[in-house]
Amino acid sequence: MTAEMIREAPSVACHPWSRHLLRADHWAMLAPPLELLALWADTQQVHALFHAAGEHLLASVAVTDRRYPALSPRFPAACWFERMIRDLWGHDADGGVDARPWLDHGKWGQHAPLSPRPRPSPGAPEAMEFLPVEGESLHQIPVGPVHAGIIEPGHFRFTAQGETIVRLEVRLGYLHKGTLGLMRGKSPRAAARYAARLSGDSTVAHSLAFAHAAEAVCGTQAPPRAAALRAVMAELERLANHLGDCGAIAGDTGFAPLPARLGWQREAVLRAAGAAFGHRLMMDCVIPGGVQSDIAPGGAEAILQVLAGLDAELPDLLRIYENYASVVDRMVGTGVVGGEIAARFAPGGVVGRACGRAGDLRRSPGYAPYDKLAFGVPVHNAGDVGARMQVRIEEIAESAHLVRMLLAELPEGALSLPLPLASGEGIGWAEGFRGDIWHWLRLDGGQIASVFLRDPSWLHWPLLESAVRGNIVADFPLCNKSFNCSYSGVDL
């Protein structure tokens, strides 16, 4: 019903899907079963990406008098986006459920930096306001922004009753670097460096989504060899991150052998990536139009050798993990994401696939070269730490399989095509190791006029807040690691 309303609204050219400009009263009627995947803005409109029964829909509403109708009363995931839109573009969500600042901590010296005329911000920043908590024998534990480990900064406000977490409120924005503003006025090639640095652990996947968006606007497609090399890099990135995460999750249960050996395997993958593509994390290797350079001589062999080593050791390591009841016991039933809340937030990636949501952008809507490759997308239903671990373990095998298939039949030919100076809009996507990444951009004479980069973590963080409720405080690191959300990715 509401999907119909979007389809019937007047459309604006956007590639490959047109964007529909809704009347404000229609926009205000949008509701589930539509799934909200992203919400962002430019100086005149607010845009949303929805998913409905296998189809993706782009909808927009005009901003009138700095206001637009809120989606958050019906889509809880809209909440953080609406706060971000207010902080960056200065558009207020009418009837929104949370009007507190998000990225803007009052320290930029200006309000709404992406609006045509940012207003100077008055003096001292206000203290952060947290959700009120009432009840017997509750206490609060403030953590961060500087954390105890080697991780990104953010503030976690726990409310606990004894050992049990009653509420977790996450406050982010500490890493805001003004990325979207820095990208404006640059060519896609120049701006790709920022997409590559939105979240370093997903540098390949974000570069890929960005390249897809730019190529959609320009009507260009990366040559087959470039598409295959991009996929090799994307799968190596997934492998390296999943190996690290599986080790770290086991490490957070106090089980040292797994992080030690999986860390070693992760290092091996990073080295092979360095040997093959010239950079361990493969940063700036995927560019709009293709890839920066060819795979180095001996690179494929180095990668295959690492995969052989992984094959030889992984089954043993997994048997150790599965046979340690005390490790598995910490993971099973811990940090559960229930089916109902998952349906409301529509998470992709590992978090989604661990609670029964089978989505994977490599399959649907799909992109080259995955349309020609057979691979499995593991799905589990328990929604707990154990399920998220299991999805990663199974994806390691799938990624290794994909890399082998890709390297066995690398197409010959060009590595990149020049992008014509184009004007227009496009949306691009890629499945990163965390999940679905969406990039939208508008080019004006070959330069970026407006852009938004949506990391999967936007929909994962709120679910982490929900999943830790009822768990003990000591299990928070375990839950957090099993989500492994990006801070920088959502701080923009």
Partner: protein, 173 residues
């Protein structure tokens, strides 16, 4: 099961990389600076507190590798600690975002003297690609006195290890 695995590992020896020679000029420069500051000797062991002040998390990924069995930081007397109050060295990554500026300064103030600041990664040196953004103060030196820089985007674990070992060596001289 795990025992068999451990025995297997024992037979094949440690996976840890042999240590490469340390960069002499860096060590000398650091040693001179330390002597000039007439700071108390800390011994050949340093406790490191890492702070992400605005990084994309690329630097964190490589710093995390230092603790693993391949680079095994602790064999050089270096270890990561959870609190700035236990630290000799602050290892700071990223441009300093305006939203992190105060937290970075307060972490530094919480670190007892004598202390060193190591700026890690191209962003930490001058803001890197984010230079000029309204949302950043600049490189690490916009907030803290920097003693050592380690370049790279991100620096490799081997480069990080070289830089940190120079610090230990300088400290011992």
């Amino acid at each position: 099961m795990v025992w068999r695995h451990m025995l297997d590992r024992l037979r094949h020896g440690p996976a840890t990389l042999p240590a490469a020679p340390i960069d002499e000029p860096t060590t000398r420069a650091l040693a001179e600076r330390l002597a000039a500051a007439s700071q108390a000797r800390l011994g050949r062991s340093l406790a490191i507190r890492q702070i992400d002040a605005g990084s994309c998390n690329g630097c964190e990924l490589e710093i995390q590798m230092l603790g693993g069995i391949v680079y095994d930081l602790e064999r050089f007397g270096l270890r990561f600690v959870a609190s700035p109050r236990h630290a000799d060295v602050l290892l700071v990554t990223g441009p300093i975002t305006r939203n992190m500026h105060e937290a970075v300064v307060r972490t530094w103030q919480a670190t007892p003297d004598p202390k060193w600041v190591v700026a890690v990664g191209d962003c930490a040196i001058d803001g890197g690609v984010f230079k000029g953004s309204f949302a950043i103060s600049g490189g690490v030196d916009a907030a803290l006195p920097v003693d050592l820089t380690i370049r790279g985007c991100p620096p490799t674990p081997a480069q990080l290890l070289d830089g940190l070992r120079s610090l230990v060596e300088a400290n011992g001289q």
